[in-house]
């Protein structure tokens, strides 16, 4: 009995921590959605692009870790700059769906560029944090929890607290929220729209880089990261598109439910149900609470 409980705890905690990895990806989506009401479908591609560049700087040019990270972050700022100038600004008055499709195109461009520049083979990323159970926890609590999971959880918590404070208490955050609410009104009272967009896209790029590092350390830096990032979509639906705490709660729910279903129900169906279980969970959420747990209620005017 005790063993079963321990096993359940282990599955649960493992799932929750793995869920924070989804939260990290979802965070990038939320940032852009919150500030521009644009759904950035290319966030997954940004994760892939940034971390592949990071690996490329380190492994092909032998640039030290910290410098490579800074360079990759700067690269993401450049990507943000180009996106703002060449994609978003011309589409300022286009419908939401049009912008969404343009970001799908942007995702293709980023994936293609990353592979053209750095090649298609899987790269290993060593952060110096092992993906194996922490001995101290294994000995004292009898739970096998990976060090990488704990790091991801910590990083996600720090980023979320930081972003939450930024949005809530700084002038920039107020500007961001104003732009999201009504871009036209915000620019008419003197909020520099271009700077806000640039800032948000750069921040989303850096968040993507951090998420990419975590995922890359676990699964290798490869194209499959783009598909993994798709799983951030159910996270967003559950948490709500415009809520930063929603991103983390959604991630935790998806992570935990996915692991528990996989371990306890999966064997009856031949396993690998975590490929679609999050999406089905998201459908149920859509039917009962389309705005998500923390999202703002969508009111459509006729």
């Amino acid at each position: 009995m005790v063993n079963e409980l321990l096993f359940f705890m282990e599955v649960l905690v493992g799932g929750l921590l793995a869920g924070t990895m989804y939260s990290l990806v979802a965070l990038g989506f939320v940032l852009i959605f919150k500030a521009s009401a644009t759904f950035n479908f290319s966030q997954g591609a940004m994760v892939f692009f940034s971390v592949l560049a990071f690996c490329g700087f380190m492994q092909d040019f032998n640039i030290p870790f910290v410098l490579a990270f800074i360079l990759a972050a700067l690269l993401m700022v450049v990507v943000g700059l180009c996106t703002e100038r060449f994609v978003l600004r011309p589409l300022m008055n286009a419908s939401e769906d049009t912008v969404l499709m343009a970001t799908i195109g942007l995702g293709y461009v980023l994936e293609g560029l990353a592979q053209a520049a750095w090649g298609v083979e899987v790269r290993r990323l060593d952060l110096g944090i092992g993906d194996f159970p922490v001995p101290w926890i294994a000995d004292n609590l009898k739970l096998f929890i990976s060090a990488l999971d704990i790091t991801a959880g910590l990083v996600a918590t720090i980023m979320i607290i930081g972003l939450f404070l930024l949005f809530k208490y700084t002038k920039i955050g107020l500007g961001l929220r104003a732009v999201a609410d009504d871009a036209g009104a915000a620019s008419s009272i003197g909020i520099p729209l271009k700077h806000i967009m640039l800032l948000v896209w750069s921040a989303a790029g850096v968040v993507a880089l951090v998420a990419g590092c975590m995922w890359g350390a676990r699964a290798g830096v490869q194209f499959a990261l783009v598909d993994l990032a798709l799983k951030a979509l159910p996270v967003l639906i559950i948490g709500g598109f415009s809520s930063i705490p929603g991103a983390i709660i959604g991630g935790l729910i998806i992570g935990a439910v996915e692991k528990i279903l996989e371990v306890y129900i999966g064997p009856f169906f031949g396993g690998a149900i975590e490929g679609w279980a999050p999406y089905v969970l998201a459908i149920f959420f859509l039917l009962y609470r389309p705005e998500g747990l923390f999202g703002e209620k969508i009111i459509r005017r006729v």
């Binding site: 053209a116 159910p234 039917l287």
Partner: protein, 355 residues
């Protein structure tokens, strides 16, 4: 334009005639190499058919769906099992029934469209993509307990005659595509299509005019999935000649989405233009890579470049012409027509002055 046959104008009938002569007589007499049939014409017809399915739900009804490949997989594997287990049904019967099975999935996964739209709906339809592929992969029955993972498709036999040469398969695809395209055009022009477009342009207004949202949306999803299912069956039996779930992954769904958007949302001919472009462009790039640079550029780099160009085109079209290539073609025709007209007017004027 006065209709001369049922509701078709002279222009419609001429277009149909030209297309039929081109595809039935001219192409088979002048194209002899198998490569053209097996690698270009057959996949083009199959993917164009799937794109019509995507058009119906996305271009006409305005529902952002991203799961065409899932429905294609459902159609393809339904076809395999029907031929295997119910041989009496025949090829055409199996094709129709597998389309209907795909349509059932379409209805199931189209239901969320009643509640949500835009990106939310996209996520709900992604569920269909992943669920269908997983289901086929995990339950051995669908694959007839084949352990290799890749099953060879059965030969196509219609009324006791085998259709195995590339040319014969081309005709099978052509016949199915022609019938379904005409049907789609009819639906798009008739009250069905008007309802779809009313829902797309403003669902609340459509509802208050008495258009049932439930019926229209579910109908659009079902018909779309039917088209995708038939296209998937043809794709597997005529083009791939094998069945594996991996062939119908999310990448194919994105490809069909691109064909639909670049071709031109809300047009049937856009589906053919878009499919041709997405299919032929990589061929062209490879040819340039091989002949101009003599293989100096790595194949992976060429495919990356292709991806970048597709992405860029998507952005450019969204900015400058959200209605896609079909609209560009329309504009071009309009321009030529007005040029001709103005030159006619000028010549008339000049002749008047002379007199």
């Amino acid at each position: 334009m006065k209709p001369i046959f049922m509701t078709y104008t002279k222009k419609d009938l001429i277009n149909l005639g030209v297309c039929m002569i081109l595809s039935v007589i001219i192409i088979p007499t002048f194209i002899k190499t198998e490569y053209w049939y097996t690698s270009i014409l057959i996949p083009w017809l199959c993917l164009a058919l799937a794109t019509i399915g995507q058009q119906i739900v996305m271009g006409y009804t305005g529902q952002l769906a991203l799961g065409a490949a899932g429905f294609m997989a459902a159609g393809a594997f339904a076809m395999f099992n029907l031929i295997l287990r119910v041989p009496d049904l025949g090829f055409v019967g199996s094709l129709i029934v597998s389309g209907l099975i795909a349509a059932a999935f379409g209805i199931l996964f189209g239901l969320p469209s009643l509640k949500v739209r835009g990106i939310y709906l996209m996520v709900a339809t992604l569920a269909s993509q992943f669920f269908i592929i997983w289901m086929i992969d995990k339950f051995g029955w669908f694959k007839n307990y084949d352990s290799s993972g890749i099953i060879t498709a059965q030969d196509i036999v219609i009324l006791g005659k085998p259709f195995t040469t590339p040319l014969a398969m081309y005709f099978v695809c052509l016949a199915v595509t022609t019938v379904l395209t005409l049907l789609a055009m009819n639906m798009a022009r008739g009250s069905t299509g008007r309802n779809w477009m009313a829902v797309r342009d403003m669902d609340i207004a459509a509802e208050s005019m008495g258009v049932s949202l439930l019926r229209t949306k579910v109908q659009a999803f079902a018909i779309s999935a039917f088209y995708c299912g038939v296209a998937g069956a043809l794709f597997a039996f005529c083009y791939l000649k094998s069945l594996e779930p991996v062939a119908f992954d999310i990448k194919l769904s994105f490809k069909i989405l691109f064909m639909c958007i670049l071709g031109g949302l809300g047009t049937i001919n856009g589906a053919f233009i878009g499919a041709a472009f997405i299919l032929l462009f990589p061929v062209l790039l490879n040819a340039i890579g091989n002949n101009v640079f003599h293989g100096a550029i790595d194949a992976t780099i060429i495919s990356s470049i292709e991806q970048v160009i597709f992405g860029l085109l998507m952005i450019i079209f969204m900015i400058y012409e959200p209605l896609g290539m079909a609209k560009l073609w329309e504009n071009l025709k309009q321009k030529i027509k007005s040029k001709l007209l103005s030159s006619e007017v000028k010549s008339l004027e000049s002749s008047k002055i002379k007199n």
